[in-house]
Each structure stands twice: as structure tokens, then as C-alpha cells.
């Protein structure tokens, strides 16, 4: 097991998602918050894939695939809502 190196990777990705979370909290407009949310989604997907490699479990990577598709649909829906007009 290569545990320590993966711990560093997890902490760095956690730092990235915390920075994106700061942008979500204090973003001046609504699209800023959506950009932060989209970044957090991508970072969580990558985190799950690296999790699966670190613990040698495949189920985390399956969860990452489903999470990627669902977060894409949610991002599209929020953008369409923000745009206004007809669906």
C-alpha cells in the first residue's frame, strides 16, 4: 500500500474544494456560485477515482461515473434556469 502519498493528494484536493467553497459563499453574482459548484463536482469525481486506486476498490470508480453524469445534468438544469425563458 502506498498510503502516505495518497494522503497528500487527498489533502491537496480537499484544499482545492475548500477554495471553491469560499467562492461559492462570497460570489457576488449567481453564475459565480455555479462556477464554484461545477469545480467542486469535478474535484469530487477525481477524488473518488483516486480513492478507488488507494484502497484498491472498484466500487468507488463506479460511483464516480454516476456522479459525473448526474452533476452534468444538474449543471445544465441550473444554467437553463438562470438563463430564463422557455424550457
Amino acid at each position: 500500500m502506498m498510503a502516505f502519498e495518497y494522503l497528500i493528494v487527498f489533502l491537496a484536493l480537499l484544499l482545492c474544494s475548500i477554495m471553491a467553497m469560499i467562492r461559492v459563499i462570497r460570489g457576488p453574482t449567481a453564475p459565480d456560485r455555479i462556477v464554484g459548484l461545477d469545480t467542486i463536482n469535478t474535484i469530487v469525481i477525481v477524488l473518488m477515482v483516486v480513492f478507488g486506486a488507494a484502497f484498491n476498490e472498484v466500487i468507488y470508480i463506479d460511483v464516480a461515473i454516476v456522479y459525473a453524469l448526474l452533476s452534468f445534468i444538474s449543471t445544465l438544469f441550473i444554467a437553463k434556469y438562470l438563463e430564463g425563458g422557455e424550457f
Binding site: 469535478t42 477515482v49 445544465l76
Partner: protein
Amino acid sequence: MFEIIIYILLGVGVFFNLLAGIGLLRFPDVYTRLHAGTKCTTFGSIFLVGSVVLLGLKNWWIGDTNGSVLAIHSIVALAAILITNPTGAHAIARAAHRSGVKPIGAVVDDLKNMTVAKTMKKKSAVKKKSEAEK
């Protein structure tokens, strides 16, 4: 040998993801933040998932059958990221422009006629014209 390449790929991916976080905090504008937050995470995730694929192939080479499943599913996850991430960024930028957010320091706005109110007006005018023709 394999482990050194895996460590280099992990380092490059984490570096680009950190750049994405810093750019998301420091840039002044929605569009520049989108530039940092989407492209850098896509490029970094290519390297991170690539390291996982390499680890799975190494395990498979040693004789662990779990490694091949790890590599193939990681490639599918990477394909999902690569298809969905730029599409979502495009949708967010389009929505931001149509909801009236202007770029900071912009002089010329080529898409000025594409705001929501005008397109709605145009749509209603077209609808009225078609109804009058009927």
C-alpha cells in the same frame, strides 16, 4: 520505474487542480473564473486518472485481476469527465451572458442583441405574426 511515473502524474494533476482553486479565488470576473475553474480541473483530472490507469495496468501485469477492472472503469470515468465538463462550462457562460453579467473592462460586446428580453420580444413578435397570418 512504474511508481516514479505514477508519482509524477499525481504531482502534475494535483498542481493543476491547485491552480484551478487559486484562479477561482483571484480572478475578477465570471468568465475568467470559468476559464480557470473548468479548464484547469479538466487538464488536472486527465493526469490524476491517468496515474490510476497506470496503477491498474501495473497491478494487472503483476497478476491481480482487479487491476484490469480498475483501469477500464477509470477510463470510462475519464471519458465522462471529458465529455461533460466543457459542455457544462459552455452552458454556464451562455447563461451568465444572457442573464446580464458583463465582463469587467469589456469595451465591445458583440452579443449585445442576444439578451433574454430581446429574444423573448422577438419570439413573441414571431408568434404574433404567425397568429395574424392565420
